[in-house]
Symmetry: C3
Subunit: 211 residues, 3 copies
């Protein structure tokens, strides 16, 4: 496992640093998912690296919580920082679950995954990059509205792709057990998409309080 | 789309007005679901009107949030008003999902839907009418206990109908793919039923604080 | 139905007493589940006793809420007590659902349930006993960290068993409808496991505030 080190300096920057690092780690996660969804991916290697991403995020979150508990002053409400950390963690958990289920259910041995599943992975990757680009804006409270509006738009797009994916899964193209397996993966993709929106909702809450 | 206009007057009545309008809009939603569940319904037209109901509710909720943010004084806790708005929105989202899934999965072309599904729609319609009748009571804080007790009773009835619906779905009467489609619809019906209860729980919280 | 009587004395001990009684009632629940999962269990009798456990818990929770509302002083934050009561109630609801679904879907007439399902029941029983042993520690705020660390570890173990259960269910060993029925039961087992963790998270929150 690659070690993640987050220096917690006595000033507040460590909080912003956490959000930046966590979001960059999440981009690693969606890149791995994109790789995994490709035909002939080295499935075992990729899903092991996804588990690493999850462990790295756990380590980051743990440091964040320690930092919250040991700080007299925090840049914004303690509970909002806590929630943001926990919601970034949820994103990673769902990304890891997608990888593990694709692997455990043997779905990556199919000639190809449904087109709508690729669409959902692409949307998650866009949400991840947007989040990584925008969270550093928490420091100066800049550019955040564009972020949450766009993140919400992507979540709506993800919802549509999810609905269309289910229509395809239930169309008779696959046998019942394959449908059930893919449905589990689809649900995790959709939960990841929602989880990104929860992050952006919390950023909105913080920005509204600060304004 | 029919335009919904909510005048936000400088006094507090606009909040009560919002809840009344949102609840009346929800009654439109459950009426449309009742129509949709009938054999030979004009499925496309009804589900389009359900989408309108959802858009109208989004507009109402948006106005409510603006109103909360621009008010110095609110008739009860800001966060409770926010939560009530968001929970009424959840109800509508689940009702719209029921309509869309019935349509997208082609379930309305079946000779008939399972009896327990009709029961669930009827319970939702009762919850909607009860909510529309009761929310105006927030102004004078009257008749609210009867509302939340009855809404809870209806939710329990919905739970029982949901369980019996699953027993029927898994009984072998339908093929596996049809069961999976109907299960998705059943889950949205059950979520709508729960969402009504969440509304009534928040009303209870508000009433207890005020008493 | 066996009557549960919780004397609410004027001092604070009644709160601790509630948590102890609720946790002991939950142990009754997981014992019944263990019995139910055995071949040749008297299914109807056991699932009726599970419903009793649920009713007893409802009565306990109701008394707790009355007690919270009628107390000027509470041993820790009112909302944390409320949440703990409600989360213990969630555990019981999921345990009762497991029993009812096994019975309603006729799964107990199978020669045996999948090994991973027995594992999940065993984990729930461990979580229940751990909770019953640890909650009395709330009074002196002792031994609680070991509790939440261990409860979390058990939840992770439950997650692994759940994933492996789904892999087995989707392996082709069972027909599609049986898979769907067992999936419903598996989801309730997993939700119960999570619900125990939510209880321990709230205990952690309380302990951190008090420290």
């Amino acid at each position: 496992m690659a070690a993640v080190r987050l220096r917690l300096r006595p000033n507040d920057d460590s909080f912003y640093e956490f959000f930046t690092k966590a979001a960059e780690n999440i981009v690693r996660g969606t890149e791995l998912l994109t790789e995994l969804a490709m035909p002939k991916a080295d499935v075992q290697s990729v899903s092991e690296r996804l588990v690493e991403v999850e462990h790295d995020n756990d380590a980051l979150t743990h440091e964040l919580y320690n930092r919250i508990n040991s700080s007299f002053v925090t840049p914004f409400d303690r509970e909002d920082i806590y929630q943001l950390g926990s919601q970034l963690d949820d994103v990673v958990d769902h990304l890891e679950a997608v990888g593990s289920l694709l692997y455990l259910y043997g779905l990556t041995s199919l000639p190809s995954l449904p087109r709508e599943m690729h669409e959902m992975v692409a949307i998650l990757d866009q949400q991840a990059r947007l989040t990584a680009k925008s969270l550093p804006g928490l420091k100066a409270m800049k550019g955040l509205k564009d972020y949450w509006v766009e993140c919400n738009r992507l979540e709506n797009e993800g919802d549509r792709a999810y609905r269309m994916l289910l229509v395809r899964l239930f169309s008779g193209e696959y046998d019942a057990l394959t449908v059930m397996k893919m449905k589990e993966v689809a649900d995790e993709l959709e939960a990841a998409c929602d989880a990104f929106e929860h992050v952006s909702n919390t950023v909105e809450t913080i920005a509204v309080k600060e304004s």
